[in-house]
């Protein structure tokens, strides 16, 4: 056993979103699905604002709205809304997501989903409430709900199933790369359609593509007795090499990808040169922070701090090994982070949608960590995009810098900030 990785758990006073936001990509990934949130006006307002006001023509997600009169009933009746969804969207599966209010009301979701479920249209319970789940964590819940619908593969079926939602183009890259190495592929969890779920059994090797899925990984191990690949996540040249070599080894195939890795590093030299020696602070909430920090460290950057909402010793073990010596924080206290940021003056902060503009306002270079969740940064094909996403902000701010430091340029923008009121006479 390697030495136990050291990390600190703080009090979680950070800025983030609840698990409902993962609906934003999952409904697009699983094309015949519908995501129904049992929640309140707050949930609807969240989705509207984080998923962009009215950009979706016909979203396959909605809120079953709890109003005041509904608060007293122990088990809300949503059969009418299920019928409406069936009539208007005709999905193959409905995911029923929990939220804070019904959790506090102690709605018995398993039972509710069970009574609404029919063989033709399963209704699957997905724990996602902001009381317990943050950002991408609810994808873990969605995949757990899907697991019973994956056919059971016989023990002699020795193939790989890639775990975690990636867009179809990235999925294709992974299937082709596997074929090139002689690795047989059973499919992806999640698949693009509910009917295409891959068979999983004792011979299956599960290859996690996303770092926020420890629970479904452990459930796969327990329920299907399959093997979970323990490797780096396939981000960056170092991650991709380890991922594919380790995966091939599970199939008794020995490959050496040293040259391929070197070539990939070579292609992003202009980026690594810029990143070398730079102080980077991770204060984001996408749960992709560990592998991203590991890649940046391999680029030569100094990781001042890497904080993330959750760290799993087993699921993240290989990433944690590579991050030895880096200050790791789970559920950080944002106020403490601000003080440390002021002390260390990092060259780049990976923050989130909530905190980035105010950090930039303090004269720092900060960027949305969320961008990494929505960019095709996986695999060999993603290496350049991954590196560029980090360096773009640095390069852009270097061009803009001469203007940036004078507070006059943000005067009047924010009513609560000091110095906002422009006296009448000066108008």
């Amino acid at each position: 056993m390697p030495p136990k990785a050291q990390f600190i758990r703080e009090d979680g006073l950070y800025h983030s979103f609840c698990g409902l936001v993962s609906v934003g990509w999952l409904y697009q990934k699983i094309k015949d699905s519908f995501f129904l949130i049992l929640g309140t006006h707050t949930c609807a307002h969240l989705l509207q604002n984080t998923l962009g006001v009215m950009i979706f023509a016909r979203p396959r997600f909605a809120v079953s709205l709890l109003e005041e009169a509904d608060l007293s009933s122990a088990q809300p009746d949503i059969s009418g809304q299920i019928a409406e969804i069936k009539r208007e969207h005709n999905p193959s599966v409905i995911f029923l997501l929990s939220s804070c209010t019904p959790e506090v009301m102690k709605v018995e979701f398993e039972g509710l989903a069970h009574t609404l479920s029919t063989p033709e249209l399963p209704v699957l319970f997905v724990p996602a409430s902001g009381l317990d789940f943050t950002f991408a964590q609810s994808e873990d819940s969605v995949l757990q709900a899907l697991l019973p619908f994956c056919p059971v593969a016989p023990p002699e079926d020795k193939r790989v199933v890639f775990l975690g939602s990636v867009n179809d183009a990235v999925a294709e890259d992974f299937a082709m790369e596997a074929a090139r190495l002689g690795i047989p592929v059973a499919g992806f969890l999640p698949a693009s359609h509910f009917s295409e779920l891959p068979p999983i059994g004792p011979g299956t090797i599960i290859a996690p593509l996303q770092p926020f899925l420890p629970k479904v990984a452990s459930q796969l191990r327990n329920d299907r007795d399959c093997t979970i690949l323990s490797s780096l996540f396939p981000f960056g040249p170092d991650g991709c090499r380890a991922f594919w070599e380790d995966l091939a080894a599970e199939f008794g195939i020995k490959v050496d990808l040293a040259e391929r890795e070197a070539a990939a590093w070579e292609r992003i030299t202009s980026h690594t040169e810029l990143l070398r020696g730079k102080k980077v602070f991770f204060a984001s909430d996408t749960l992709m922070e560990l592998p991203l920090a590991r890649f940046l460290r391999a680029c030569g950057a100094e990781i001042v701090e890497c904080s993330t909402p959750a760290i799993n010793r087993r699921f993240h073990s290989r990433e944690l090994e590579r991050l030895e010596g880096v200050p790791l924080v789970e559920q950080a206290n944002f106020d403490r982070q601000l003080r440390d940021i002021a002390t260390y003056q990092p060259d780049l902060i990976i923050s989130n949608m909530i905190t980035t503009n105010p950090l930039v306002g303090k004269g720092l270079v900060a960027k949305w960590g969320t961008e990494f969740a929505f960019m095709p940064i996986h695999g060999w094909a993603g290496v350049n995009i991954l590196a560029t996403t980090f360096t773009k902000a640095l390069r852009r701010h270097a061009i803009l810098d001469p203007l940036g430091s004078d507070p006059v340029w943000t005067m009047g923008l924010m009513p609560s900030a000091p110095g906002d009121v422009i006296p009448l006479q000066e108008l």
């Binding site: 604002n49 608060l71 804070c100 209010t101 900030a417």
Partner: protein, 545 residues
């Protein structure tokens, strides 16, 4: 319970945040689960705030509930230690309110130096505007202090609030006009106000409270308690602005006469223009030009909050001469007032009060107006139906938070609105040419523009693809399930024969959707199931489509 896709108003929680993020040296603490912190994003992203909004979520987790931990006192202490606000407003969320905790007692256990207000906003009874209005009124009641009036004529501007629609620009427009008159601003609130500013509110001679949604109740209180008169109209359009200025001058002079104060005179109107020597607004002349005559007759549909719906409807009708085919509001508690204001502009049948966007979308699909003034949701509906839309009220998109000076109020606002109307609609002469000679190659050009735009944003691509899909389905044979899934489509729509479909394609694309709808209506009314070329021709004759 109902199925909700999108909401017009934000939550009570968001309303509290808007007031607190407007004020100086105050702070909101939300006793809420992590997820409720999303409200902070709306400020940092839409208003692109260069500093942290004055709000903190004191996180309540599932583990806390299981263990009976309450972090609120510790959060309050952290906030006080770091920011030293004068006032901390505490609010529960839609979930924590069900816990029935006594937050007064909990907050008291933190032993703060700051003033603490536990704002009892029931999120199941109040939404964004109600909560913001309620909190702001409570603060005014709490702090406004009796005192003598200012020496010189002065006004308060009440109502501008963080994330209000174009409020920063409106504020500038109002200040410009007051400056021209030589009237001092005593306090602006809540925008930029401190607790001390609230104390000073009663020193003003008059309150300007142009927004029906926020500030009206505080103006009522100040009138009852301190006798401060209020100017409650929103000066949207040239004539309303002139009336507003005259009322302002008259009221201040009445008060001045009692106090032997200075007399305010209306300066020549050119004094209100940007350069001080031109017409204060170009709208009156613009509306009379041949350009606008050729443009006239375009039908408009207006839907939004109370203030902007009323102001825009009157402006379009009275100052641009546009026929109004419908108007309404999503603010149900203001529906009575809006209805009353729009007597003579729309009939009862043309008036719409709903907070379900699908209902508004269906009305738009039915009317196919040439101009829609709405929220971001109507903009989307309009795009789906290839109609023209300008956004006049929240909810907004980041696209509505532009950099240049774009007020809606005052003379400056009249010009901004008229320009927006003009560039949103298909122009008059252009439309005649298209009607007469076909699309003049615009259709292909349009497709090209779309491809370019599509590259801009992934989500847009997604939305366009979906829209394209919807259009494709409409053009092809209609499956009942598909038709039923589009809330705005009419059930039992007749089928088009290939020849009729081909003929329809020859109708200019600008008006094709309308023609399709009219012909289908014609067919339905006569029980015709299949629209053949013959039916189309007869229908065109009959309805002039």
């Amino acid at each position: 319970m109902r199925l909700a896709y999108w909401m017009y108003e934000g939550t009570a929680h968001h309303g509290v945040g808007r007031v607190m993020n407007s004020m100086r040296n105050v702070h909101a603490v939300f006793h809420a689960p992590q997820g409720d912190d999303y409200v902070t994003t709306i400020f940092t992203m839409l208003e692109r705030t260069p500093s942290f909004p004055a709000m903190t979520t004191s996180v309540v987790s599932g583990t806390d509930l299981a263990r009976g931990t309450i972090r609120l006192p510790e959060t309050l202490r952290q906030v006080e230690e770091k920011l030293h606000p004068e006032l901390i407003v505490i609010a529960a969320s839609c979930s924590t309110i069900l816990l029935q905790e006594n937050l007064e007692v909990t907050a008291a256990s933190a032993h703060l130096n700051a003033d603490v207000l536990v704002y009892d906003a029931n999120p199941y009874r109040m939404q964004e505007n109600g909560a913001a209005e309620g909190l702001f009124s409570d603060l005014v009641r709490r702090y406004a202090t009796p005192q003598p009036l200012t020496e010189r004529p002065s006004v308060n501007i009440i109502g501008p609030t963080s994330l209000g629609f174009h409020v920063r620009h409106d504020l500038t427009s109002i200040r410009r006009m007051l400056n021209t008159l030589g009237v001092q601003v005593n306090v602006v609130a809540p925008w930029g106000a401190s607790v001390d500013d609230l104390r000073r509110l009663p020193a003003a001679w008059l309150n300007i409270a142009p927004y029906r949604e926020l500030g009206a109740a505080a103006a009522d209180y100040l009138e009852e308690q301190f006798g401060t008169p209020a100017l409650r109209e929103a000066p949207i359009g040239v004539q309303p602005t002139l009336r507003w200025l005259n009322a302002l001058v008259d009221t201040l002079n009445e008060i001045g006469a009692r106090r032997n104060g200075p007399v305010i005179r209306m300066p020549p109107l050119t004094a209100f223009s940007l350069d001080g020597m031109s017409a204060p607004s170009a709208v009156p002349w613009f509306a009379r030009t041949a350009d606008m005559d050729s443009y006239s007759g375009k039908s408009a549909f207006i839907f939004g909050d109370a203030t902007h719906t009323v102001g825009m409807t009157k402006f379009l009708h009275d100052e641009l001469g546009m026929p109004i085919v419908g108007a309404g509001t999503y603010l149900l508690r203001e529906a009575g007032w809006v209805r009353e204001q729009l007597q003579g502009y729309v009939t009862d049948e043309q008036f719409l009060a709903t907070d379900e966007f699908q209902v508004t979308a269906a009305r738009i699909a039915e009317l196919r107006p040439e101009l829609i003034c709405g929220t971001q949701m109507e903009r989307h509906t309009a795009r789906k139906h290839e109609l023209n839309c300008m956004v006049i009220a929240p909810p907004t998109h980041i696209e509505n938070h532009l950099l240049s000076y774009r007020p809606f109020l005052g003379f400056d606002g009249a010009d901004v609105i008229a320009d927006e109307v003009y560039t949103t609609c298909t122009l008059g002469m252009e439309k005649h040419l298209i009607d007469l000679f076909g699309d003049a190659g615009l259709e292909e050009q349009e497709a090209g523009v779309r491809e370019q735009e599509a590259g801009v944003r992934e989500q847009e691509v997604e939305s366009r693809e979906q829209e394209a899909g919807v259009r494709g389905q409409e053009a092809g044979v209609r499956e009942p399930s598909v038709v039923a899934s589009i809330p705005t489509s009419v059930p039992g729509a007749p089928i088009w024969s290939p020849e009729a479909e081909a003929m329809l394609k020859k109708i200019p694309f600008f008006v094709r959707g309308k023609a399709r709808g009219n012909v289908e209506k014609y067919a339905r009314e006569r029980g015709i199931a299949v629209i053949t070329a013959d039916v189309l021709l007869t229908a065109k004759e009959s309805i002039g489509a």
